[in-house]
Symmetry: C2
Subunit: 295 residues, 2 copies
């Protein structure tokens, strides 16, 4: 189903071979789940129309580094399982009602089922990441720790004292860190050395930061489609509005997006020119500036 | 603080060097936590007087296999982090109020803090287990999946149709599986081959099953000290009471404990005689038949 933002059809990531490769891997892994109740919950979460951005980034980076991504599928599935688990647990934290136009997992299966489904997916991600060696697995665990720590920071977003630096530290941990390791793990599984993997991590970090600011801008303007929760966080536009007008706060936030998108693209320019790199350029716009196009 | 059961002081595991080795490792890892709020939660959970049974089993098995456990500490900490995370999330599921004579994590820090603290500890366990290679890490992830699946089964314990087989499948997954991999991972980190590691897994499975039945018997008799939750599960004595008297149901449950303890000890007999093996014999009684002594 192509993604429409304010009526405009964006590129259709579901037609990409990387998307279909990830989808097939997820489908196959769900068939192995024994308990029917757990299987139903995982199906609901994993088939609710996610764009698979992080695993696709991982596969594309692996292709840039080694010309193939066949060795990287399990790492990509590990990243997507960790991401899906964080969405379920986020919906528990925010009392999320609707996610991707469907009832959220807590809404459909109750808080206990949702909690356990999230834990199951995190544990499954450990099994998926197991073949990839100490450095990759340690980075993967560290990203999981960052995500939990970022959400703890997010709980404190309402504090008056919460400023710009706190916000960027929070969104690095809760969002950009998983983008950063999606890219760096893609590099390692593509055989890259640490220096090149670190550059890809930098790309992922800049892209993930821009992505979260866009998400916050859309929530601030209440134009987010298919998602609804009782609690929303105080974000960059709110922080800027403590010292400027709403319009100025919005403009400063959008400028911030563009700054990080430029940093992501600048880093991308340094990598081997190939179709996979072109797709990373497309994804970079697709999940950031394209989403702001019709504001 | 020695563990007292109905006034009788049992062996004092806190004086064991393996216990102190694990405690020091946990303390050190907590110092690395950046966010003060998260640090406080992890301290509360990790310093609430756990007996460290699973990591100590791992260290002792490693010693039996290789004469040392110095290479195994991080694996032991990974197991304890996964266990601690499951206790926090269990308290969320059962609306646990008191755990080890202290307010439970949800009671003290609220459901959001407790949820995130559990997720943080699972992610930290991934970082700890990262040096140990694909087989160990895959088994570790599989145990985490089993634990979540076991808890999903536990949610269905009230169903009338829930019989003995369902109960044993549930307690294997939610409890015995972590005992089993504590032992098998101890073997692998001690350099053992698969055949020997499988035998240790069998020991851990039998011990973990006996341990959970004892826990359920104590809960059934309402003599559990320092623990309180709004919801309790239907367990083996309840299942037996569908067809026998309370006394008979209790006797059958205790016989079941003895059966699994005998199986655990029988397996232990097959391993190299040494002080570490003696300690495993002590632990086997300590967490099962010793707990039933004064009923």
């Amino acid at each position: 189903m192509p993604v429409k933002v304010h009526g405009v059809i964006l590129m259709n990531i579901e037609e990409w071979e990387e998307y279909r490769y990830v989808e097939a891997g997820i489908k196959e892994s769900i068939t192995l789940i024994e308990d029917p109740g757990l299987k139903k919950m995982v199906e609901h979460v994993c088939h609710s129309g996610g764009k698979r951005i992080r695993p696709i980034i991982l596969l594309l980076v692996s292709e840039i580094c080694s010309g193939s991504y066949s060795r990287s599928l399990n790492a990509a599935l590990a990243v997507e399982m960790m991401h899906s688990a964080s969405l379920i647990h986020d919906d528990l934290l925010d009392q999320g009602l609707v996610r991707r136009n469907l009832p959220s997992a807590p809404e459909k299966f109750g808080p206990s089922g949702a909690l356990l489904c999230g834990d199951y997916l995190i544990a499954k991600s450990i099994a998926f990441i197991s073949p990839y060696g100490e450095k990759v697995i340690q980075d993967f665990g560290k990203a999981g720790m960052d995500m939990a720590e970022g959400e703890v920071l997010d709980l404190k977003l309402e504090d008056e004292s919460f400023g710009e630096n706190d916000y960027f530290k929070c969104i690095y941990k809760k969002t950009a860190s998983l983008f950063a390791i999606s890219a760096s793990i893609g590099a390692y599984t593509g055989g890259a050395e640490e220096e090149l993997a670190e550059r890809f991590s930098h790309f992922g970090n800049a892209l993930g930061t821009a992505y979260q600011i866009v998400d916050d801008i859309l929530e601030f303007l209440e134009v987010v489609e298919g998602k609804e929760s009782k609690f929303t966080s105080e974000t960059l536009p709110h922080i800027y509005m403590k010292s400027t007008s709403k319009e100025e706060a919005l403009k400063k936030s959008i400028d911030c997006v563009k700054l990080h998108v430029a940093a992501a693209k600048e880093t991308l320019e340094t990598f081997r020119e190939c179709p996979a790199r072109d797709k990373l350029f497309q994804i970079t716009d697709y999940i950031t500036v394209d989403m702001l196009e019709n504001l």
